[in-house]
């Protein structure tokens, strides 16, 4: 069936099997392979995209459900020549090793900073009435849906803290 998707500021019209996930629509049909498939079951976070500014596991949602949504993938944050501050911070802090979970970590981190900026509490937020402040514990809690088997976690947290200092608003 036909679907038109708005991805990284461009419209793409696809004729796809309705069973196609948003992730596979990007990877198999649009050559947008920045978002990774690590489990296809929402267990690893490698496929994280922003849909209307919020984090989503793109393997757990069908492409045809997103006709009127604004979708951002890692390719939409910045390019190799013009990196988003979060991407640059990951390079600076060695916040990756094999690089496969990295796009998901980066997109998730950008979305996560947006959630903190909007005052969303988490399990480790000390007092939900007084708002949420960025801290190592908040980052670790909120990023725990993004697995990294190389285990770059300490450097990822450092990268996010650095990027948070440079960007107040999510992309």
């Amino acid at each position: 069936m036909n679907v038109t998707l708005s991805i990284n500021g461009r419209y793409h019209t696809l004729d796809i099997d309705p069973r196609t996930s948003l992730l596979d629509a990007c990877r198999d049909h649009l050559a947008l392979t920045g978002s990774k498939k690590g489990c296809d079951h929402g267990q690893c976070g490698a496929c994280t995209m922003l849909v209307n500014g919020r984090r989503i596991n793109s393997c757990l949602t069908l492409a045809v459900m997103h006709e009127n949504d604004t979708i951002t993938t890692v390719e939409g944050l910045g390019t190799a020549e013009n990196l988003h501050p979060m991407q640059a911070a990951f390079v600076e802090h060695d916040g990756y090793q094999c690089g496969y979970c990295t796009p998901g970590q980066i997109v998730s981190a950008v979305g996560m900073l947006g959630e903190i900026g909007d005052g969303w509490p988490s399990h480790v937020t000390k007092d939900i009435k007084t708002g949420t402040e960025l801290s190592g514990d908040e980052i670790r809690e909120r990023m725990s849906g993004n697995l990294c088997r190389c285990s770059a976690y300490p450097n990822i947290v450092d990268a996010i803290e650095t990027a948070a200092g440079k960007t107040k608003e999510p992309a």
């Binding site: 050559a31 690590g38 190799a80 991407q87 990295t102």
Partner: protein, 741 residues
């Protein structure tokens, strides 16, 4: 080809002179911008925009038996299905590292969810759907799933080490020992669980087969694919420029590569097969579960007199690889009378193979716990107990150590960590619901140098390109090869390019066994020296004293830009490193120490890591940033092995129960506090021309035991059956902890 055989210890080199000043520095990764922007292409991601087909595997629904029939008619009737492949072209699992080929199924089922067939279709969705319509009938036979049953016990192959090595008369020495320590430890099976599931894109153009696959050890890949397809090896090219993690699981060729290669030949258009996460858990390989008996004889004063480490582990029929848990016990602790032994208990479960630090990762969970227990029995601090038992030569064969800085690592760690503040008695320090404890362990990882070759091409503008069939599995190979070439040739980093992961390039060591940086890096060193000789001859200068810096050759009182020497020409040289007498004359290993502080919750039994410090000595560090990242990885795997990871095999039917990332628990961000890694300034002139040693697997060695030793110190519960999940800890806690303030 320019060859260096490591027969002599290396003297001062251009790396020591550090004229360009780039070696060892924490340079950002060469390929970093591609990775963070999502534009580094992994195996599945090639041929974007081309008309390709997709494959989906049909798994067996029994653990052992014969395949009576495979009915593909319903699947083939689905519009969009192009082919269903079954029979002799299907493989059981990945191949073993360096094996000539993977094992084919030959009409049998050897383990639960073994591949039986693969469906090829126009889209992934159709292939997945049709795979459910393939009807397979079996004649099921009884399987063996439990290591403790020891139905079939056999001696392992001599890969990755000679399995049984004894010295003297251990039984006699142990019987005579003043203090006898005898405990058994168990470790479960583990999955490497690299983030990128094994994947392949294969394209047959009627004459040549091109395969992009996620593979650590490219050298043997074309030959393996040739055996499985019948295509001549010289008509096969294999690419693996980016690999989404391997940890040993991609040392063997994945089943996806064999199936995609056969499928593209069968249908005449490119085929992509990415294993599902469930396939990765059930159709590649895993680390074998172990039962390890550790016996140590000692004097009352604390001197170890004899040492025995005997391991049962598992593998499937036809596989001789074994988890060599005793690999560090060969040399770490003294005793003239010793037994290091391994048995394979054959089981009908997915084959076992290499996972990060085969041997050390499981063996040191046992021995480093044993040292802690014995130290306590003797009333000696664990740090001092290790000092008292530091051997002067390798206790197995009296060879000298090339360099052994274990005690320096331990002492540096103890000082930085504040070990003197350790609670003296278990369960003596409490903060509210949390009991606090410290633990430590030694770390060691045997060092190997492997044959490896690289080409360096210098174009007329003075730019250098390094090409080798080597891979980068996240370890930092691109970056360290760039740094070595830049330092040797006196070039700024941005004047050096690195191309990896192409089977047409010079054959390399591949990424495994922590030998990659040292072996591939040494080949770049050798090629660089050859290039310097070529430049010097063009200048009529002495290569030894020719200084290269910032793209200029400096000698006498002259400074000449490289393009003026090259005069429009491109120079290409190849260098090769080979292991030599140094590997026989000296015993080589990297060393380290871990210090950990945990909190154990008295209500839930949950353990939280509060602090974790690793100090390592692994020869020259080529890039302090990527080396430190490797150590973080080892530490965090250690957290997983101590507290979480446990690949559960259903002993009734052989099913790997927790075959995905929801149920097989790897550490997540919230499990990992800020960590500390310290790398000692070190050189090992016997190990390689770089004077470096392996580091990728050092930091996982022993770290889990530092954690369980800290758990014991915190709450008095000794975990010998890994992992230390809260149910096991809680069962050992006395009830009065709950009521005590």
């Amino acid at each position: 080809m320019n060859k260096h055989v490591m027969d002599e210890a290396i003297g001062e080199t251009r790396l020591d002179r550090n004229t360009q000043g780039v070696i060892g520095k924490g340079a950002p990764r060469y390929e970093g911008k591609l990775k963070v922007s999502g534009t580094a292409p992994y195996a599945y991601e090639h041929l974007g925009g081309e008309d390709v087909a997709y494959g989906f595997i049909v798994p067996a629904s029994i653990a052992r038996g014969k395949i009576r029939s495979v009915d593909t008619s319903a699947a083939e009737a689905v519009p969009g299905v192009l082919k269903v492949i079954s029979g002799e072209k299907i493989v059981r699992a990945a191949s073993q590292p360096m094996a000539p080929a993977a094992q084919t199924i030959d009409g049998e089922v050897f383990h639960y969810n073994q591949p039986v067939a693969v469906v090829i279709a126009d889209t992934f969705e159709v292939a997945r759907h049709a795979s459910k319509l393939v009807k397979v009938e079996y004649s099921e036979t009884e399987g063996r799933f439990d290591i403790t049953n020891r139905h079939t016990v056999r001696e392992p192959d001599s890969m990755p080490m000679t399995p049984n090595q004894s010295r003297g008369d251990f039984e006699h020495a142990f019987a005579e020992a003043e203090v006898q320590f005898d405990q058994t430890y168990t470790t479960p099976s583990y999955q490497a669980a690299a983030m990128e599931p094994h994947a392949t894109t294969a394209k047959w153009d009627g004459n040549h087969l091109t395969v992009w696959t996620s593979h650590q050890l490219l050298e043997t890949a074309p030959g393996q694919i040739a055996k499985h397809t019948g295509i001549d090896e010289d008509k096969i090219t294999v690419h693996s420029p980016y690999i989404g993690g391997g940890f040993g699981s991609k040392l063997g060729l994945g089943p996806d590569a064999v199936m995609a290669a056969n499928a593209t030949i069968a249908i005449g258009k490119p085929v992509k097969i990415a294993l599902t996460r469930q396939n990765v858990f059930q159709a590649t390989s895993r680390r074998g579960e172990t039962i390890q008996r550790v016996r140590i004889g000692a004097t009352k004063a604390g001197k170890i007199t004899c040492f025995a480490h005997e391991t049962d582990t598992t593998n499937s029929p036809g596989n001789g690889f074994f988890e060599p848990s005793g690999i560090s016990s060969l040399f770490l602790y003294p005793g003239k009378d010793r037994i290091i032994a391994h048995n394979i208990v054959e089981t009908d479960v997915l084959m076992t193979s290499a996972v990060r630090a085969p041997g050390e990762a499981t063996g040191m969970l046992a021995t480093e716990s044993a040292l802690d227990e014995l130290a306590e029995t003797l009333g000696i601090d664990p740090v001092e107990f290790r000092r008292m038992n530091e051997p002067e030569v390798n206790p197995q064969d009296d060879r000298p150590f090339s360099s052994r800085r274990l005690m320096e690592c331990i002492d540096e760690g103890a000082k930085r960590f504040g070990w003197s503040d350790r609670p003296e008695k278990p369960a003596s320090r409490r903060e509210g619901e949390w009991l606090i404890g410290y633990g430590m362990s030694s770390a060691s990882r045997k060092n190997d140098l492997m044959p490896s070759a690289a080409e360096i091409e210098m174009s007329s503008d003075g730019r250098a390109t390094v090409r080798t069939g080597m891979t980068d599995i996240g370890t930092g190979t691109y970056t360290i090869l760039q740094q070595i070439a830049a330092e040797m040739l006196g070039l700024p980093l941005d004047m050096v390019d690195v191309e990896l992961g192409d089977s047409r390039f010079a054959a390399s060591s591949g990424s495994g066994g922590s030998w990659g940086a040292n072996s591939a890096g040494s080949s770049v060193y050798v090629a660089s020296l050859a290039l310097i000789r070529e430049l010097a001859s063009r200048l009529d200068a002495d290569a030894e004293t020719l200084t290269l810096k910032d793209g200029h050759a400096i000698f006498g009182n002259k400074q000449i830009p490289l393009p003026d020497i090259l005069k429009g020409e491109t120079i290409s040289v190849t260098g090769k490193i080979e292991p030599g007498k140094q590997a026989e004359e000296t015993h080589q290993a990297s060393y380290g120490a871990h210090f950990c502080e945990v909190g154990v919750n008295v209500v839930t039994g949950e353990t939280r890591i509060r602090r974790l410090l690793t100090v390592g000595a692994a020869g020259r560090i080529l890039n302090e940033k990527t080396a430190t990242s490797q150590c973080y990885g080892g530490q965090i795997w250690g957290i997983g092995y101590a507290l979480e990871e446990d690949l559960v095999i259903d002993k009734r039917n052989g099913l790997i129960v927790n075959h995905d990332l929801a149920e097989y628990h790897v550490p997540v961000h919230a499990d990992v506090p800020a960590l500390e890694v310290v790398l000692l300034e070190d050189r090992d002139p016997h190990a390689s021309p770089l004077a470096g040693k392996g580091i990728g697997e050092l930091a996982i060695a022993g770290v889990g035991a530092a954690i369980t030793n800290a758990i014991y110190n915190a709450c008095g519960v000794r975990i010998r059956d890994y992992p230390a999940t809260l149910d096991k800890v809680l069962a050992g806690l006395p009830d009065d902890y709950l009521t005590a303030a």
